[in-house]
Symmetry: C2
Subunit: 460 residues, 2 copies
Amino acid sequence: MAQKPSIPKGTRDFSPLEVNRRNYIISTIKKHFQHFGFQPIETPSFENYDTLMGKYGEEGDRLIFKILNSGDFLKKVPDDVYQEKNSTQLTPKIVEKALRYDLTVPFARYVVQHQNELDFPFKRYQIQPVWRADRPQKGRFREFYQCDADVVGSTSLWQEVEFVQLYDAVFTSLGLKGTVIKINNRKILSGFAEVMGQPDKLIDFTVALDKLDKIGKEKVIEEMQSKGITPEAIHKLAPIFDLSGNFLEKITQLKQLLASSEVGLKGVEELAFIQKVIATMPLVTAQLDLDVTLARGLNYYTGAIFEVAAPKTVKLGSIGGGGRYDDLTGIFGLKGMSGVGISFGLDRIYLALEELDLFPKTQENATQLLFINFGEEEALYAAKALHKLREIGVNAELYPDNAKMKKQMNYANKRSIPFVVMVGTKEIAEETYTLKNMLTGTQETLKLTDLIGAVKQEVL
Amino acid sequence: MAQKPSIPKGTRDFSPLEVNRRNYIISTIKKHFQHFGFQPIETPSFENYDTLMGKYGEEGDRLIFKILNSGDFLKKVPDDVYQEKNSTQLTPKIVEKALRYDLTVPFARYVVQHQNELDFPFKRYQIQPVWRADRPQKGRFREFYQCDADVVGSTSLWQEVEFVQLYDAVFTSLGLKGTVIKINNRKILSGFAEVMGQPDKLIDFTVALDKLDKIGKEKVIEEMQSKGITPEAIHKLAPIFDLSGNFLEKITQLKQLLASSEVGLKGVEELAFIQKVIATMPLVTAQLDLDVTLARGLNYYTGAIFEVAAPKTVKLGSIGGGGRYDDLTGIFGLKGMSGVGISFGLDRIYLALEELDLFPKTQENATQLLFINFGEEEALYAAKALHKLREIGVNAELYPDNAKMKKQMNYANKRSIPFVVMVGTKEIAEETYTLKNMLTGTQETLKLTDLIGAVKQEVL
């Protein structure tokens, strides 16, 4: 019996409309990446097992898709290991490759491996799928694209400034008004831990603080206390739960609060620089906001931390994020290579544009004109015009079969093809073509040159 | 110790130059796919194990990369199966997904799964990577892109005509002159088997005939005889070993040779139609050639068979191929869906363009202008012009650090950035910018409006 076709859970087929819309977002992002001097690289879909394992924590290791060795993969497995029948122990014996889990580790591997061919600072972008064996749920997939831009080899804060501008440029270009670019700095978080005199509680503190938006001040404080943070420590930092005002006002409050912490003040100073520069070249549609509750993978970032919130009208949460990391490539043997990068969340941006009806109305890549097929002689006559129209860049088709007129017109309608051309014996005799506008229903009979002129005007 | 970074054998990293060149080829192919009315789809990188297995023969099954189930994958394996320690038997118990091996089977699965959403004839293109556990060797990779266009749901020969035109349009557009589009028809091969009176020897016959180019007539005949094809049978078909003349002359000879075979004559008639139509709209740089030795996966194709040979000056063999298949979707339960499709060999086309020096000289996506960084105040002043230039579409950067002038100029040179802008205290005082052409060495000091005008003229 024939198989009933399906695809693995958490994966997706993309229809022509969806591919075109995804490409619209991707090409917009790409264009701005390039305006900002980023160059594309691509890395293999699978990396060596050892390259990926141990880089994303225990949970990450579990979520990495492993590729079974080819051929007689059990041959090299020692009998004693095999007898254990233990998945965790068997895996490294039968797996040498794994699908990439993100673009950051492959990028780090790339930089180290190709360090002698690269010119630093190296600004790269990478737009490729990644795979995670996550439990599929609404909006979370097992295969999805990441769109990353990173620069390595410079500690300059100008990079942070540019990433803020880049976010603004992309979202403005997509028509997504009212995004909020939230920024924080790991040094400020470290400063908090210093000020409260419990530097060992940094993680517990930030994990709790991160929830301020969702569960409110009281619950956050409860959680902090339950983790052993003292009431006095929390009291010292009380102002951060109610930090208000604009960016500059928050900076002023933080300076006072962190006055005793050198690292904390350094973090404030960095944010102040970014704010100062951005103020001289105002963002177009985005808003820059200082958010001390922002932590995002704290163990990873060492300086700026970014996150972009979608416009409030769409309830989507974050549509981008990133930050600075001081030792990206250390794990592969190249020390002291500071980097900073951001990412765009393609799937969520798609949902936002869809919800706000911001996708372009016309699909520029779709077929613009269909020649109706009335039989071999007519088709041959039509094919010549078709050939000429394609040469000037029109997307055009000849209906392949001499099917009933109604069927052919239906095909044009269903595919939203805006123009059809009809040629029968009369047109052939007169060397003309009848062009019909499917939207207005009007039609006119034209010589080839005029047909080309008319189509050119309408669709190019 | 840090890991020495590497990638799995048979895979590749692509540098910015390589990505840009690959994208140049891909976007050219895409553009023409669209001119011909094809629409993009994308399918998941991995399919269900059962969707792929058994579709590519035993060898294919072996070359498919299997993805190990996540979690405790051994839990569900029955002890008796496990005890066998047999890779072949264990695989289906610990694997549910596999990386796609080509784009054709996923396409067939897609058509069946989405048949109610599609308008037939359905013309789709798909440009995505595929994976094969082949032994890596020069020019053969374990991850590579396929670029396919197919149309399903019509038996019209106009599709074959259009694919010939499409090949010509793409290779012309890429500047690859002198390609030969070889065409054959499975029905002609069936006709040969009928004429020689040994229809059961069709495969042996065509496998041997396929080698005519490489090993010559005598060796081919030897092989045929060794497979049990009688000397009389071979004698009857003797003319095909020396078929000569142009397309039409070959057609005439084949008509005589296949006079007694209905299916054979049908094949000749189909080729004659294609030739006739193409003759009325001559190809621009490609040549259409009838090649009766062309077989390509005989079990698969049922009508036309295509293969494109690279220009003779590059010794690369085939850079594209395809054909008609009458029952693509049958295996997934949808009968009678005739299709025809072609494929472009991205890696070989890349090699051909490289060898013939046909890639565009300028990389349109590369950085066009670098602002030298002389310190914070200067950088801030420069950033405003930078911002304006990006807004009008210039790819521009600010060197992030106040490094030595020489280092910054070196960076511009190495990255082949054609223009740099320098701003010092003098420029700030005079509200000007000094623009230097890195190729000619000339420089001029300009007001912002003039700088924008000059850059616009030079790089946009």
